[in-house]
Symmetry: C2
Subunit: 180 residues, 2 copies
């Protein structure tokens, strides 16, 4: 059965969406092509009509996730509060792609790293605008420092199997960031 152009575009979108959630939830290696296609309500055979390979899917997915979802005008303090919330920590599949996938992307293809790096650069610039500081350089420093702490704290909080320690990591980092 052939499918309409809109249907095809929607299928591709659903595949990328499903892949994004699954990759964040389980990591690149633990997710199979069949898993992704099933989550997108398709069969594994249809996959290669959309992508050249699983590596290709990873790159496309990263580009798709990373470019979307950054609020244009964000307040760093407010953003940090949301980012370091328990609900964001618990929403791995829907949460920040950097926190969820940066560690894994280090071992991926150059293209995948490039996609993530592009997102990282943009994110830092976005944060710099609303960061505290007199000079542009100070703002950028605050943005990078805060961003590193946010990403690190969420990763550590997700890794900890002790709920109290996990909560504390988020809370202390929240406090630690704001007064600076």
């Amino acid at each position: 059965m052939k499918i309409s152009r809109e249907q095809v575009a929607d299928n591709r979108r659903r595949i990328l969406e499903a892949a994004g959630r699954l990759f964040r939830a389980k990591g690149f290696e633990a997710v199979t092509v069949a898993d992704v296609m099933k989550a997108a309500s398709l069969t594994h055979g249809a996959f290669y009509g959309h992508f050249n390979s699983k590596d290709d899917l990873i790159v496309q997915t990263l580009a798709h996730i990373v470019s979307a979802g950054i609020p244009e005008d964000l307040d760093l303090t407010r953003y940090a509060t949301t980012y370091l919330s328990e609900s964001h920590r618990d929403d791995i599949a829907g949460g920040c792609a950097t926190a969820g996938l940066a560690g894994q992307t280090i071992h991926q293809s150059p293209e995948a790293r490039a996609a993530m790096t592009a997102g990282l650069r943009e994110h830092i610039e976005r944060l710099s605008r609303s960061a505290p500081g007199a000079t542009a350089e100070n703002k950028r420093r605050a943005a990078i420092g805060s961003w590193a702490a946010m990403v690190g704290a969420v990763i550590l909080a997700r890794m900890s199997d002790d709920p109290n320690l996990s909560d504390e990591l988020l809370a202390q980092t929240r406090e630690w960031i704001s007064p600076k």
Copy 2:
């Protein structure tokens, strides 16, 4: 051929050592049991005399890495400088296990997460002692905030495919941490 007790103990040590380096360098999934055994100068068949499974190896390796190598009396500022150095960023196989494996451990067995959490708790306590701050609570906050930033910065710096951005992430985070 049977082997002397010391030889066996040494073999096990070499397996854990090799696994530690390989896991950090390539991630858990990308490393095969045969890879590890080869790096330890043994054949894959001997593996199951030492460990029950690959998952078991992961747990033992994490416990082994995490418990070792933390200086008893460290100065937080000095430690941060070393941690956020380019040489540490580039030494993935020999560098900090938290930065190298925390992101992956989230998706591992409960035992693996427990091993990492134990190391994390100990590390935070160690850092708290030398952290700046009037009260114990302030010291702990500084330790957690700094540690989150260090881990996050190294992960992001390793992920970036742009050397300049990577260097900047380390340098800015270094500056961002110290003045507080």
